[in-house]
């Protein structure tokens, strides 16, 4: 399995000897073995030139850029090497046929809400009383199959999330103020954390989509907008509760992230470099964690689960096997 590389120090990334070399501010060099690089996250000031871009494209390595505020700037997405006109036609067909689209969208919400429920169940079993929220979510989940339109489905999803977020202050041991999800910009610690962790998951999913023939701009639950890879938002829904939210809970409950991890002057908008590093390192470790897959009968990492999700979607689109969202089974 290829690895993700995270660049936190300022410096330059260059092509050298058919591989890449990172030189930091103090002129210390480090070679990255290009054959082992899955993708690169740039969290700092980095200079590079077009020959680097060339070698990255040749090796199919996406680069994700984040700005000073740890907000996602964008990705360098090398030319698609795996293209399939056939699949694209099917992808579009499943989008424009509202019935087919709704079916896939429902599967995403179904998977996401199940994983949300399981998160709550897990913490409920560990002395955090969130039974009320669990019951509410269970009720709300019944409505998903009944949705007649994407808007309606989004509404149910919104309600589930709202209930879910209401349970957060109970789950998190630290004193937090968190009432509702606020984006653009996030207004407190928790919202900043959620935003950051979610973008990381989007990019992880995008990296996996890149390795399949799927076109990342055509999505089903989210409206396929311009200038963004909305399919990764769709697929990320399923993984956000298990990877992202669990990560946030454990970071906070183990006091790895506290008020000190944020820049106060900016209304908790900005994560410190150390905090961002901690989060990324924990998520990276999580992505490499392996579990025994019940159908494949072999051990797979969480990262590979994301790719499997893409493959399942491909099979559904080509009419080979109906898509079933990933649901935590252990």
């Amino acid at each position: 399995m290829k690895r993700s590389y995270y660049i936190y120090n300022n410096g330059s990334l260059r092509r050298k000897d058919n591989t890449i070399t990172f030189t930091n501010e103090y002129d210390e060099k480090k070679d990255l073995p290009i054959e082992r690089v899955g993708d690169i996250y740039v969290m700092s000031e980095m200079s590079f030139n077009s020959s680097l871009i060339n070698i990255l494209a040749q090796n199919g390595i996406p680069v994700h850029f984040f700005n000073y505020y740890s907000f996602y700037t964008g990705s360098f997405y090398p030319r698609e090497q795996l293209v399939s006109g056939n699949l694209l036609v099917h992808q579009v067909d499943h989008y424009s046929d509202s019935e087919k689209r709704l079916k896939i969208a429902k599967a995403f919400v179904e998977g996401a809400s199940y994983n949300i429920y399981r998160n709550l169940r897990y913490y409920n079993g560990r002395g955090k009383n969130v039974q009320v929220h669990m019951d509410l979510i269970e009720d709300l989940r019944w409505q998903i199959p009944r949705a007649q339109s994407i808007q309606e489905l989004m509404g149910y999803e919104g309600n589930i999330r709202k209930t879910y977020y209401n349970a957060w202050p109970t789950i998190i041991d630290q004193e937090i103020e968190f009432e509702k999800r606020v984006k653009n910009p996030p207004d407190n610690m928790i919202n900043t954390l959620i935003s950051f962790v979610n973008t990381l998951i989007y990019t992880k999913v995008l990296g996996e989509i890149y390795q399949t023939q799927l076109n990342p701009t055509i999505s089903y639950l989210h409206e396929p907008g311009d200038r963004r890879f909305s399919l990764s938002l769709d697929l990320a829904e399923i993984f956000k509760p298990i990877l992202g939210d669990r990560l946030i809970f454990s970071l906070l409950n183990r006091n790895q992230i506290t008020q000190k991890s944020f820049t106060k002057g900016l209304n908790y908008l900005h994560l410190t470099k150390e905090a961002s590093k901690t989060i990324v390192a924990e998520l990276d470790a999580k992505m490499q964690t392996t579990i025994k897959h019940k159908d494949l009968n072999k051990t797979v990492s969480y990262q590979y689960l994301m790719k499997l999700e893409c493959y399942k979607l491909v099979k559904h689109l080509l009419g080979e096997k109906e898509y079933e969202p990933f649901k935590i089974w252990w």
């Binding site: 995270y6 000897d17 058919n18 073995p33 054959e35």
Partner: protein, 92 residues
Amino acid sequence: MYVILVYDIKSDEGGAKALTKTFKICKKYLTHIQNSVFEGEVSEAQLLKLKMELKPIIREDRDSLIVFKSRNERWIPKEMWGIQEDKTSNFL
């Protein structure tokens, strides 16, 4: 699989050339740890590719190259004496 690769290239005529070439090829696949030591996680196919690339460079009668293979990194407990630096880290 997790491998440790070490090489010994004789510094006679043509040795310098073989040395730099070997070094450059190795660093595409593995992390440079010490002077002639590399380590890292590679797939079976990648290791084969590396072998094929190195084959014409290594002079069979003079140079030697050893690859230690392990199924997983965890079966090679690592201790660092002296300078402690994790060169295989993916945080830069």
